[in-house]
Amino acid sequence: MEWFPYSQDKRYLSGIDWVINALDYRSRRAVGRGNFSQLVMEFDRKLDGKLFCEKIAIFLNHYPVMSGGVSRDFNFCPYWRAGTGKRVKFSFAQRALNSGEEDLPLIFAFANVGLKPGEYLSFFLVTGAEKSFLVVKFDHRLFDAAGVEAFLSLFEEYCLTQKVTPIAPALKPGLSAWSEKFIAGKAVNRFFLKLRKGLKPITFAGGLGQGFDFLPLFFDADKSAAIYARSLSEAGYLMFMPFVLAKSLQSMDKVIKRDGDYLVPVNVNLRAANCAESVFFNHLSFLFFRVSRSMIAATPQLCREVASQFFDQAKGKISDNLAQAASLMRILPLPVVAALLDKFMGGDCAAFAFSYLGESAFRKKSFCGALVKNIFHLPLVPAKPGVGIFFTRYDDRLNLTLVYAKGALSREQAQGLMQELKNNL
């Protein structure tokens, strides 16, 4: 019943958005940084930093949602208030590579710097003689990974046509159908009780340091095609996600032996294809896989097990129920939600975080006049599990990034894991 005239400047947060805000809170407490991520675009030539900066400043001001922030409404529902009339703040820095200097360490250093207060986007341009990298740092409270790719696609469209795609990220508070939400909550509760049974929290002997290390791996078109072909024969048609998760589990088990079963949270994209309304905020949910160590050695058996759990969770509507149940948590303050994530949802027992984003939502071949050679992500990973394996794809080429909080893995373990993944895929 639409009896209340909700303001267009308000976008009520979904339960998943509130969970992402809780992860932001937890990350600030644990490692001193918010919950942000980076997208890296590689170009075939030097991008004109001044021109980019001028254009993006104009473009961003068409989206006042980007100068907003979180508030609570009279009905206790958290919402995002757009900063209508305020200029959108963002940072831009540029650095030319010195002769013989490597690009990735500069990018990794930038990925370890937090966003300034009131900023949700920050850009870092690294330029070489015949190449450049644009690193886009984005706050997860406002964008998920596919959302920022779609946003950059809109920006390129704007550069080419001068047309701005209007986006009204409206969402009603969803303060109805309580019985459905409580039933979803009960289903989720039962699922997590079973999932966590007998698992011990993972601890890091030396504690966690400040910051994250990244190890990316880029596959060319031929190798990517070979990996897809293997997934077809070993896991089945359109079972690429279960295949790469199975390979990640095998690699992890070989290098970092852990006691007991492996618990892996996997985030999944819930947006419909080509949906402009879903550029801002989070349109994802989670699946959870628990795999016994005894199953890990045989690839077909492991792929079947992962695919079977995937099917059972889709059938049981776990990700939908989770999104519904999370909406009940919006009344809770962030420290309480953060504690629940650890103690109830298995965050403290997870072996590693995992995602496979699929083909990039940035569907263009060029950006600001330069040819895009590759797009990959450098996400941070929650303090627990402290390790993440993330697959992305651009132009049919597969990219893999291993991310770990300092102290969660040793450098030798991380390099061994990457080598194992390389050999295994």
Binding site: L238, A272, A273, A314
Partner: protein, 84 residues
């Protein structure tokens, strides 16, 4: 044997809901992955097939030939329901 055309129509309708595109836009002889399906949306389709046609195709092996297009998938479902 169940009507393959009716199965095809039901599949196209469900895929259009999953992918958020109009059913008329879906080419029935195009590979599912070229329509924009990924692992997540494919598993949702398998759940629909189990509920609608009482067939667990996940357990029967996911050969590309059977799942290549909406038409070939409809044929497989039609054959499997007839064989029961």
């Amino acid at each position: 044997m169940a009507d393959s055309n009716a199965i095809e129509k039901a599949l196209a309708n469900e895929i259009s809901i999953i992918l958020g595109v109009g059913a008329a836009q879906l080419k029935r002889d195009a590979p599912l992955h070229s329509l924009g399906m990924d692992s997540m949306s494919f598993v949702e389709l398998l759940v629909f097939i189990e509920k609608q046609f009482k067939l667990n195709l996940m357990a029967s092996g996911l050969n590309k030939e059977d799942f290549q297009t909406i038409s070939s998938l409809a044929d497989k479902i039609s054959r499997a329901t007839a064989a029961r």
